[in-house]
Symmetry: C7
Subunit: 94 residues, 7 copies
């Protein structure tokens, strides 16, 4: 993929319901925050973000849970991606 996120941002691709069923995770969501599963497609370099050292903890290929309302959607070659900050990723699903 040719989208290179800046700073502590990552590019993710949402996983569909079928993919979630395979790993056994279901994300019901709530009114206050609707979580989603996704795969990491690209990872920014981290470094000094707003004057604070950020180390990237996720890597390409990680399955993650993130907050649905975080980030910006981008469509590339017919696939929708989301660009968001690593801090908006809640957990890695192994």
């Amino acid at each position: 993929m040719n989208i290179k996120p800046l700073g502590d941002r990552v590019v993710i691709r949402r996983l569909e319901a079928e993919e979630k069923t395979k790993s056994g995770i279901v994300l019901p969501g709530t009114a206050k925050e609707q979580p989603q599963m996704a795969e990491i497609m690209a990872v920014g370099p981290g470094g000094m973000i707003d004057g604070k050292e950020v180390v990237m903890e996720v890597k390409v290929g990680d399955k993650v849970i993130f907050s649905k309302y975080a980030g910006t959607e981008v469509k590339h070659d017919g696939v929708e991606y989301t660009i968001l900050r690593q801090n908006d990723i809640l957990a890695i699903v192994e």
Copy 2:
């Protein structure tokens, strides 16, 4: 469990009323903040969070009181979990 929280986040499972009765704790809640009891299921690595060093003080198996409105709910293999920051945990019940 295969949910690995990032940073200073933890995964908790809420304890039901019967479980609370056993330990003698009752959580009435108030309009402003409804506390809940839960068990710690997974603990993030801590480290530099928003440029501040966070040491994880809770461990898997701890019974804790947390604020009901904190965190994100995730359903996994039929069990509901909540992912929240350690800072949203008020106390450990021993």
Copy 3:
């Protein structure tokens, strides 16, 4: 008591009106902030809280004035406690 507060939190038990009369303190309260007297029941370890070193200045048994709207109420073995941050305690009454 088996509630162990995390970080800079403390567990307090409110003192009733009669107890206040004994020490001569009356807390009228105002519309903006209603103060209350309480006894410290448990004290967190302090340490790095939000990246800032917090030293605990109160100890178990201290009589304190705190802001009524601060903290979370917890009922334990028929007694109501409040968990709040040390910063929400205004003064020690000696």
Copy 4:
């Protein structure tokens, strides 16, 4: 007085209009902030407050101007006191 303020807080007693007349100070107040004169009754130890070193600049007996809406009112042995942060004191009147 047996109220010992924590951190950078001080306990003050408001001065009445007659007392103000003696020192020649009149505080008209405005809609946005109504200043008041008071005497310092007790001074907290200062030190690290929210991760910042605070040195106490006022001492018991100082006559000060403070913002009327700051702090918490406490009644003790029939006298009303206010507990507020040193930062809410605008000036010392000598």
Copy 5:
């Protein structure tokens, strides 16, 4: 004058229209911020304010432009003063 401002505060006395005419400055003001001219009457010691070193750049006698809505008005011996933070002073008029 016997008002001694704390921290980075200064005491100023507003200059009337006639005084402004002499120095050739007219301050029309706008809806969002109405500037005013004043003379510095007293200057606080500066030092650590909210954990930041503040050096006082104004001195007694300086003519300054400040924001009308900043600070607290105090009347002393029939003269109205304003107590405000140095940061609310925009410029010195020489």
Copy 6:
């Protein structure tokens, strides 16, 4: 171009739909944040911005995705530019 941005600001020129089609990127946008593609025309020096060291990660000629609502529009010799902070640039498209 003779617009020299200050601090961590950059000057960008929006890319039109046709240009986007060539690189295969489509930016559908959402109600919460409408992303846009642009080319970097000028880059500020970075350095200490609000007391934090900012290193410029973009360079003139980079194609970037940025948030539509960020920045200020400027028209120069018939071309519209936008001046915005590097932090408002989400990713570089290579």
Copy 7:
């Protein structure tokens, strides 16, 4: 000019439409932020501002683009000036 701005403030004089035409810059403005061109008339000393080191990047005579809603208007000898922080200046036009 005898207005000496404090800290990281600068004094600017707005450039009229005709002056803009000469340099080829047109500033259409938008609902969210209406940019303006101006000339720098005076520059504060910079230094520690809110506990952060600020180096002044503009100098007297610079033509700059700034945000219309920033700063305070001052009229001096029949000329209107604006006093604003360097951070509200977006770019220098060379």
